[in-house]
Each structure stands twice: as C-alpha cells, then as structure tokens.
C-alpha cells in the first residue's frame, strides 16, 4: 500500500501547483485516484497480470517532468526519417520546438491535449475516457489521475491525410526516474483516412515510466493505419492501454512493433460495432537481455459481418520473457463474422521464455474463427544448409530470424520503420545481404 501512497503523494503535490481546471477534469482525476487507491497495483494473482510482475514500477518513486528540453541534435538522431506531421512530447511534456504541425491540410487537427483543452475543453470532455475508463485497469486509473498532456487528432469527414502523422514520445536520461501519463485521442470521422505512427524512443540511459492511454474512434468507413513503434530505452517501463472503436465499414490496422523497454505491457482492444468493420492486428515483439514484453489483445465482434485478423510474432533471446494473450470475443447472435488469430514465437536461447494463451469466446453459430499458437527454435538444418552455400553462421541465423518475422515485416510498408525493426532483430547485416536490387532483379525476370 505504501507504494500506492507514494504515487498519490506525487499526485497531491502536483495538484497544489496546478491552475484551476474545468470541473469535469477535476472529477475524473479524483475518480482515477480513488479507483487506483482502491485497486492498488496489479499483482500476479490477477488473471490479467498473471505473467507480468509490475513491482519494478510500483516500487520506484517517479518524478514528473518540469520541461521538454531536449537537444535538437539528440532528437534528430532519434526521429524517424519520414516526411510527416509531427507532435513531440518529452517525458510527457509538449515540445513545440520538436514538433512540426505547420501547414496542416484542411480537415486535419493535430494538437497537444493542453491546447485542445484550452481551446474547447467541452469538445475534449465528451470523447476522452469514453473507451478507456478508470475501471479498465489500475494503470488506466493512474493515467486518468495524472493526465495533463497528450495528442488530439481529429479528421473531418472524407479527409484523406497523405502524409503520416507521427506522435513522438521521447524519454530522457534524467537524474531521477521520471514518469508520464500521456493521452492519445484520435477521432476519425466518416470516410477519413490516415496513417498514425506512435513512436516511443529516447536516450539510451533513461529509466522512466510511460503510462499511455490511447483511444481511437473510427466513424463509418474510416480507415486508420496505426503503427506503434516502441523503441523505448532498455531501462524504461512502458504500459499502453489502447482502445479502438469501429463503426460500420471502418478498417483499423494495427502494427504493434515492440523492440525496447525493460518491462512492457500493451493492451490493445478493438470493438467492432458496425457491419463491415474490419480489424487487422499485426504484432512483432523482440526481447533480449532480461526484457519482459507482454501483449494482451482483444477483438470484440459486437456486430454481425465483422472481420478480424491477428498475427503476432515473438522473437526472444537471452533471458527475455514474452507474453501473448489474445482474445476473440463474438457477441450473441453476431453472425457471419470471421475472426482469425495466429501467434508464433521463436526462442533464440534456452533461457528465453514465452507464455502464450489464445482464447476464443463465441456466442453465435454462423462464424468462421480459428486460432493457434506455436513456439519453436531456429531450424539448425536450415542454418547448416545455408552455411554449406557459403553464408556465415551469424548471417544465416540473422536471415532466418528475419524470415520468421517475414509476414509481419512485409506488411509494414513504411521503409523507415521496417529498417528499424530489421536492424533490431537481425543486427546490421553485411551490405551484400541488402535486398535492394534483388526486388528489381526479380521483377525484371518475370517480364
């Protein structure tokens, strides 16, 4: 309990400094604090947290950041080389200097939460917290108690955003461990279309805690490609609660790519509420050292004629620990739905470990659903076969590991992102293994 008190004291101290805020925010904050105080941090006795021990978070006294200072050069080295609209938070504090939100096209709003609140707090109050309430988890409650900053993205009906929208979360090597509780709120109106990239990264020596809550609302026919590239420093703790709401004929594709962090927990939930809605969940988690990466996903088929397709790949080396828990839920009488789920894991060492649990819960009879999970090792015969062709052992292993990630990586159409993943998973391959040139070679051959 003393752990909870430490966080509540930090909250109280912050409240003293805070200017007066709209009553609805104060009320939610209080509800969050009360809920957090009542629940405490989850323990492994909680079914949802059975394989993830959060004491590394609960037993640390985290400070809150006071500013968003970050060297331009340092940030430039971390920023994805993509022509994009960019909003940057440094340890949860908005950095105008590291953001690029000028010349947004018509129908697109990308703004820090603080600005959205000061412009029109009532417009934020409606959607914020509608999908992820304080009941969801102790971390969602904690986030709600502390929430101050974040990103609000609004797409007007029919708006197609050509450039990706990057939300960049930088973690600094502070003198004291620091925490932040950012909010992401995306409202995609009817037939709008965008690519959103949440990029979590930071200074190598950082030891911070990011506790983000994301809510993504897709109105009728909206399309959202949602990349989450989590490259947090290896000393960072990262908890993300992501909740998607999908209306009729909307299409949501998640690319949940987790490479960094000491302790990582993702919850990704999509509610398919209208006919024709489609959710694609692609995931890749790569752990090394003593990293712990936990992915909990859930698709709720709340309406007939809805589709979901999930493919998560885990690659774990050293003493890394992975968790995959995927649920597909089909509501009573949601007929003609299709829900597919696959989880495959590759263990690169004897001490790496995965706990995988796929679940189906179906209350309708006319459905097509399947799920499966496998865990294996690199095929030593294949390593040998490649070596007999002159490919050195390290490269053979790297190529086979990359090949394992193949289906997920191939779906990533943004080169800047797939390159980061390849580098993390396979290391720097000698130039001669670069695929560039081969693709052209192959297509020319087929002519």
């Amino acid at each position: 309990m003393s752990e909870v008190l430490t966080f509540l004291e930090t909250l109280e101290a912050r409240s003293q400094q805070r200017a007066e805020e709209p009553t609805w925010i104060a009320a939610r904050r209080q509800a969050g604090a009360a809920r957090f105080e009542a629940m405490g941090f989850p323990t492994r006795r909680d079914e949802e947290w059975k394989y993830t021990d959060v004491r590394a978070i609960s037993q640390t006294n985290f400070a809150l950041a006071e500013n968003a200072e970050f060297s331009q050069a340092g940030a430039a080295a971390l920023t994805l080389p993509i022509d994009a609209y960019r909003l940057t938070l440094v340890d949860g504090v908005f950095s105008a200097a590291l953001s690029d939100l000028d010349s947004l096209p018509q129908g697109v709003q990308i703004l820090p939460l603080s600005q959205a609140l000061s412009e029109n707090h009532e417009a934020v109050g409606g959607p914020l917290g509608r999908l992820t309430g304080v009941e969801f988890s102790p971390f969602a409650a904690l986030n709600t108690a502390f929430m101050e900053e974040g990103a609000v993205v609004r797409l007007a009906p029919g708006t197609v955003v050509e450039k990706p929208i990057v939300l960049q979360f930088l973690s600094r090597a502070n003198t004291k461990p620091t925490m932040c509780h950012p909010r992401v709120l995306v409202e995609a109106a009817g037939r709008s279309e965008a690519t959103l990239i949440e990029h979590y990264t930071g200074e190598a020596d950082a030891q911070n805690f990011t506790n983000v809550v994301g809510e993504y609302m897709l109105d009728r026919g909206a399309i959202l490609n949602h990349y989450k590239l989590q490259e947090a420093p290896l000393g960072d703790y990262h908890v993300a609660s992501m909740h998607v709401e999908q209306s009729r004929d909307s299409r949501y594709s998640s690319y949940n790519l987790n490479l960094g962090g000491a302790l990582v927990r993702n919850d990704l939930i999509s509610d398919l509420n209208g006919k024709g809605a489609e959710a694609n969940f692609l995931g890749l988690f790569f752990g090394q050292g003593r990293q712990h990466v936990d992915n909990h996903t859930k698709v709720n088929h709340n309406a007939p004629l809805t589709f979901s397709n999930e493919n998560y790949k885990g690659i774990l080396g050293d003493r890394a620990h992975g968790v995959f828990n995927g649920k597909v839920f089909v509501k009573r009488d949601s007929q003609k739905i299709e829900g597919f789920q696959s989880n495959q894991n590759l263990l690169l060492s004897d001490r790496a470990h995965i706990d995988a649990k796929p679940e189906l819960e179906i209350y309708a009879d006319d459905v097509k659903c399947s799920h499966g999970t496998t865990t294996g090792r690199l095929d030593e015969e294949a390593v040998y076969a490649m070596r007999t062709r002159g490919v050195d052992e390290a490269t053979a292993r790297a190529l086979l590991t990359l090949a394992f990630a193949g289906e997920v990586l191939e779906a990533v159409t943004l080169d800047a992102i797939s390159e980061r993943v390849e580098l993390a998973v396979a290391g720097k391959l000698p130039e001669r293994f670069n695929l560039t040139g081969l693709v052209e070679t192959a297509s020319a051959l087929n002519e």
Partner: protein, 249 residues
C-alpha cells in the same frame, strides 16, 4: 585436388568409415557406389562439415588445405559444394536471396567485388532456362513445398550459379523420373571441365548412363574395396554388390 587418406569416422560411437582413401584430380568425374549403409553419404557429409560425425583418424585436404579445420562456410567459399540427397527447406528465405547471398559470400571470400544486379540477373536467367525452371522459383522460399524433382533441380541450379571447384552430389538421382533425371544430368555434364571435379554418390548405375564417370569406386562397409573405370559400374549392375564383396573378401 581432393585427397582423402585413411579416413575413420564414427557416428554415435559406431565406426562408419573404416580407413577410406580417395584421390580426385581436377577435371575428373568420380562415382562412389555401394550398398545402403556402406558410408557413402557419410563421406560427403564429413567433407561438407555436418555436425555429429567424429573423425577419429585420417585426413581430408582440398588443394592442400586441411578441410577438417575449416568452418562449414569456408569450405563452400573455397569451392567445395555439397548437393544434398534431401535438400533442406529454408522457410521464409527466398531462393533468389540465398543465391545472391551465397554467390557474393564466395566472391567476397575470394577478394572479388560483389556481383552487380544486372549481371546477376542475366546469369540466373541463363541457368534457369537451362534447368527448365520457371522464374517464379526464385520468389519461393528455398525448397519449401517443392516436389522431389524440383528440389534436385534447385540443387543443380545452385551449383551452376556457384560454379564450385569440387561438386559433391549425394544421390542426386533419387526420386527423379526419367525426364527430370535427363535435365539434372545435363546440368551436371555442363559443369564438367578441366578445372573442376565432380564426385557422384549413387546407389544405382542408372545415373551413370547419363553422366559417364572417369572413375568408379565401390564402397563396402566403410572402405573402398574396388576402383575402376565406367565399366565397373556396368559390372555392378549385372552382378550386384555381393559379387564385389565376395571378390574383395
């Protein structure tokens, strides 16, 4: 080029090769024949560097270098290439990717530059046509879902691209129908030249109708019991291995 001297090899404590000696010169095609269990595949596996084979005595040198001290990939880079009896599936790695990686690894090891993409393309196309293989093969994962015949053709395609100094082909004829065997044999024959040696490991004489060897060795119980020219293979066809074993005993 290849000198095998008094080679003794054990697998799981059982001695499989019991003093095998063999000398192959550049330009020669040798056939190693013998009944099942004689140790034919063991020899090529030891030379390629497969795990699980313990050399207890003897030596293998290739162009004067101690093969048994070399890493698996160094052997390939030096020009020793094994064609598998059961080609291995390499899930997710495209054929074209492996071919280019292998060719460049070899070139870099020799101190040459990497092959430019257009030149590589031309080379591949030529060999594909020769092996009567569809370009779509290149986009498929190595051997994944290939039929037996396709796998064997693919082994020969790799040989044509990599141009080894010594090609060891382990039961390259097994599982092939007669048309596929002709294509594979044409591929092997096209590799024949004054600088290159070929070692065919085979159970049946059939393959040797298409690839006529310079020398034939009969391996029985871990030793070469008889060597001769192509006529020896025909004798075997007529009299079987038993006759040889008796005459050797």
């Amino acid at each position: 080029m290849l000198e095998v001297k008094d080679l003794h090899v054990t697998v799981d404590g059982n001695e499989i090769l019991k003093g095998l000696s063999l000398s192959i010169k550049a330009g020669e095609v040798h056939a190693l024949m013998g009944p099942n269990g004689a140790g034919k595949s063991t020899l090529s596996a030891v030379i390629a560097g497969k795990d699980g084979y313990e050399v207890t005595q003897g030596s293998v040198t290739f162009e004067g270098k101690d093969v048994l001290e070399m890493e698996i990939e160094e052997r390939a880079q030096a020009g020793l290439l094994l064609g598998f009896q059961y080609p291995v599936e390499i899930p997710g790695v495209k054929n074209i990717y492996l071919l280019k990686a292998a060719l460049n690894a070899q070139r870099v090891a020799r101190g040459e530059s990497e092959i430019p993409a257009p030149e590589f393309m031309k080379l591949i196309k030529e060999h594909l046509n020769f092996m009567k293989m569809d370009p779509s093969f290149l986009q498929r994962a190595v051997n994944e879902g290939f039929s037996g015949g396709e796998k064997k053709r693919n082994e020969i395609l790799q040989m044509l691209v990599l141009q080894p100094k010594l090609a060891m082909l382990d039961e390259i004829d097994s599982g092939l129908d007669i048309d596929a065997m002709k294509v594979v044999a044409d591929g092997v024959n096209s590799l024949r030249n004054q600088e290159r040696a070929i070692l065919l490991v085979t159970h049946y004489q059939r393959l040797l109708d298409y690839i006529v060897p310079d020398k034939v060795h009969v391996l029985v119980d871990g030793r070469i019991v008889k060597s001769g020219d192509a006529e020896l293979a025909k004798e075997l066809e007529a009299n079987g291995y038993e006759g040889i074993e008796e005459s050797a005993a």
